[in-house]
Amino acid sequence: MPKCVIDGKEVEFSAGENMVDVAKRAGIEIPVFCYHPGLTVVAQCRMCAVEVEKMPKLQTACSTPVADGMVIKTKSDKVKSHQKSVMEFLLVNHPLDCPICDKSGECDLQDTSYSYGDSNTRYTEERRTYLDLDMGPVIKKSMNRCIHCTRCIRFGDEIAGIREMVAIHRGNSTEISTIDGKPLETEYAGNYADICPTGSLTLKDFRFKKRVWFLKKTKTICEGCSRGCSVELHQDNNVIVRTIARENKEVNKYWICDEGRFHFNSVHNQHRIVAPVVEGSHSDWATAIHRLKTLSANQTVHVLIGTDLTNEEVSAIKMALPKASKTSVFSHFGTPGLTSAAKDEAADALLKRKSKTSNLHGVEKLGIAGFEKFDQSAGLVLVFSGGRAVLPDVSNLGKAKVIGVGVFTDEEAKTFAAVLPATTFAEKSGTIVNFMGIEQKLQAAIRPVGSSKQISEILMLWQNQQGSEGHSNG
């Protein structure tokens, strides 16, 4: 393997590797703004310029190919003074509105300024200001904060497949905008906020909700479709306020779709049932479990498994049912019209899949087939759902009763004999399998909302109560 020397440290690299990335691997940070590993290299912010032996001018680390034997200095006086100067140039027109900026605390400009900038300012001229345009429901634009890195332009063009962000005017008046000021169209608009190195493009949904340093962050997987993008859920006081994309080169690279990004809002949906319900009325766990036990005993039970459940949940259900009923039949459900993993395919050119649930492929591997029609002999239809799977029509089942275990809204459950509320993807941990067959782990970001319980716990209560009538656990 070829080697280069960065700040006196010998580092191996493979041909074509980027200097910023090679340095990073050696634990050396080269500050960047316009560079993003998922986008083309434009070398225009000039922040990453470093000294390369035998080259008279500073070289931008993002665009200069590393060569065997190259000697690179990232902390020489010449480099430090250049970094200071670029920071000064970037800040001469940047407003000092960090106290009310949503990006503050996770802002590349702020952090880099802290590490590489100067505490003094020499700028006394008037600052440049822009008028802002509304860019639609997802992104709030604050052009005065923009440092013209053009990541957003390249994201639209190269990743989202739509040229909607552009640079207009020229030089110091350059404005980053949408074409003709139109609202954003892409279904991946949230990424504009993720990749913006300042508070110029922020999420409207997150606006003024929380200072970022109060957020507790959990690395987990999006449950919006069978791709299973890596995400981070951010919460405070057990309320999720934001989802951001997490790098996963195999699955989603650096991006997530807006549907997945804003899916967390369903966790705190006011119509979600978060306490046991029996025959349409609020109840307690003991009563609800009793109801479940009574309706399932000596019955043929048709068990509907949402493909938004984890492998662990499905296995536990499969183990519990034979003990609790006469016979049981299993089918899975999730996306209307999509009854088998074989029919799951790409829904767009970037990330989205036809299966709108996360574990279709895992559930099917556990030997459960897609729901076609109700078993006529069933006396009970038992629905397990994580809240993302779309229920089949259960309103006209004749004599069979319906009990829901999982996440349901008032509307969905209005004909149910009982609802035993369980957890959403954000409140549980477990294994899911994406369309590529990759096993990924959900991590609970918050405690179960209301008195919801994990499905495993509900199954345990059900089994325990089979011998000990009336045990209260509500």
Binding site: Q44, R46, H82, V86, E88, F89, R122, I147, R170, G171
Partner: protein
């Protein structure tokens, strides 16, 4: 249009409308004979002849033309292109305009030979948007050439085909930078590209591309018809062949386009002997020798040979050979403010130092010029220009920084007087 030479290549044909016609070109300028010769030659031999000629790019950078042509790969899966840079946007430069007005067929023939030499079948003349008249004249000349079979398919009965199109810019200085020009040609925003890849590897539409200035291409037919050695000998300094067109403007008695043998005289001779000296016989204050981006020279620095290397040795540049002469009664602070305003206005806005720094410098110089300067401003200006120079993707940063640092250093007293609130010492 004057000359000191007994024989000139270009300027003797300037000034008369009928000279731009094909008839004149064929009868008076040995038109398309060089192309006939070239099309029977081996491509490497043509490039070799151009290398021998010591022709250096006339757009500003002065890169050896033959060497540039040699960078084009022999085989390419993508089409190759020859692009003529007729953007001529460096302030003070107006020589290419005359070449396009009066000798358009010279340019067409030069492109035909260049296209053949590098294996390109498509040529573009990217002309600045303001040159509406010249674009029209070029198109008329191209039509004439097509009609007589000097362009199009199977030129002069050979297997070689070459199509030529005039593409008009929309008024941006930056589109004179070759990669910004290519972006603009492709219909993109006129912004310089990251190099490498250089245009010879991946230029217009991703194909290997050579971008040459108008005057550079106009020299090619002469080199082919009379030989590289003959052309090289026209130059009077090493590594610089041919004659060179100077655009002289400002406070001289006879401004205009002049043709002199490369390196055959000093700036002083050009200004006083050729251009008749300073207007109203005033004293000379300053000379901007190679377009507005060239660092300024004081009146005692003009005994320098007006060519690429002698100029570089004294810290300025020949650039596009646009010599702007400033007399003693003109305010250099005001002049620098105008230049700084130009570069701030023309920065494309990509690179941080140029986007932010050019405007900052303009603001400071504007304050000084209008009596609101501060003593620390001059050091600040020098520091800002230093932070821009060499720190940007293209040469516009250097173009903006050079005038500021040279004016402030060489005419410090004038700036200090403005800051002290004194009346401009000269104006």
């Amino acid at each position: 249009m004057a000359t000191t030479q007994t024989e000139t290549l270009y300027v003797q044909h300037f000034g008369k409308d009928q000279n731009r016609k094909l008839d004149y070109y064929l009868s008076q300028m040995n038109g398309y004979e060089a192309a006939k010769k070239a099309l029977s030659m081996n491509q490497d031999d043509i490039i070799g002849e151009v290398k021998k000629s010591n022709l250096r790019g006339r757009g500003g950078a002065g890169f050896p033309t033959g060497m540039k042509w040699g960078f084009i790969p022999k085989q390419s899966p993508k089409p190759k292109y020859l692009v003529c840079n007729a953007d001529e946007s460096e302030p003070g430069t107006f020589k290419d305009r005359d070449l396009m007005r009066y000798t358009p067929h010279l340019l067409i023939e030069g492109m035909l030979i260049g296209g053949y030499a590098i294996g390109a079948h498509i040529g573009y003349i990217y002309i600045r948007g303001e040159y509406t008249r010249e674009a029209k004249l070029l198109n008329e000349a191209i039509d004439e050439a097509y009609a007589k079979g000097y362009l199009g398919k199977n030129i002069l009965g050979t297997q070689f085909s070459f199509d030529l199109t005039v593409h008009r810019g929309a008024g941006a200085y930056i589109c004179g930078e070759e990669t910004a020009l290519l972006n603009s040609l492709e219909g993109k925003r006129g912004e310089p590209r990251v190099k490498p890849p250089f245009p010879a590897q991946a230029g217009a539409f991703g194909g290997p591309t050579i971008v040459n200035n108008v005057e550079t291409l106009c020299a090619v037919p002469f080199i082919l018809s009379r030989g590289g050695e003959w052309f090289s000998a026209l130059g009077k300094v090493e590594k610089s062949g041919g004659t060179r067109l100077f655009s002289v403007s400002g406070h001289v008695k006879k401004p205009g386009v002049y043709e002199i043998n490369a390196g055959s005289m000093t700036l002083r001779q050009l200004i006083y002997d050729v251009c008749g000296g300073i207007l109203n016989d005033k004293k000379l204050k300053a000379v901007i020798p190679g377009g507005s981006s060239a660092p300024v020279l004081t009146a005692d620095e003009i005994d320098v040979i007006a060519d690429i290397e002698p100029m570089a040795k004294i810290g300025t540049m020949m650039g596009s050979a646009a010599v702007m002469v400033v007399s003693e009664d003109y305010c250099v602070v005001k002049l620098l403010q105008r230049i700084a305003k130009f570069y701030a206005h023309e920065s494309c806005g990509q690179c941080t130092p140029c986007r932010e720094g050019t405007r900052w410098m303009e603001d400071i110089i504007h304050r000084i010029e209008h009596g609101h300067g501060r003593t620390q401003d001059l050091d600040l200006l020098l520091n800002i220009s230093d932070n821009i120079a060499g720190k940007t993707l293209c040469a516009l940063g250097d173009a903006a920084a050079g005038p500021v640092s040279s004016f402030v250093k060489k005419f410090k007293a004038d700036f200090e007087a403005h800051i002290r609130g004194e009346k401009c010492p000269n104006a």
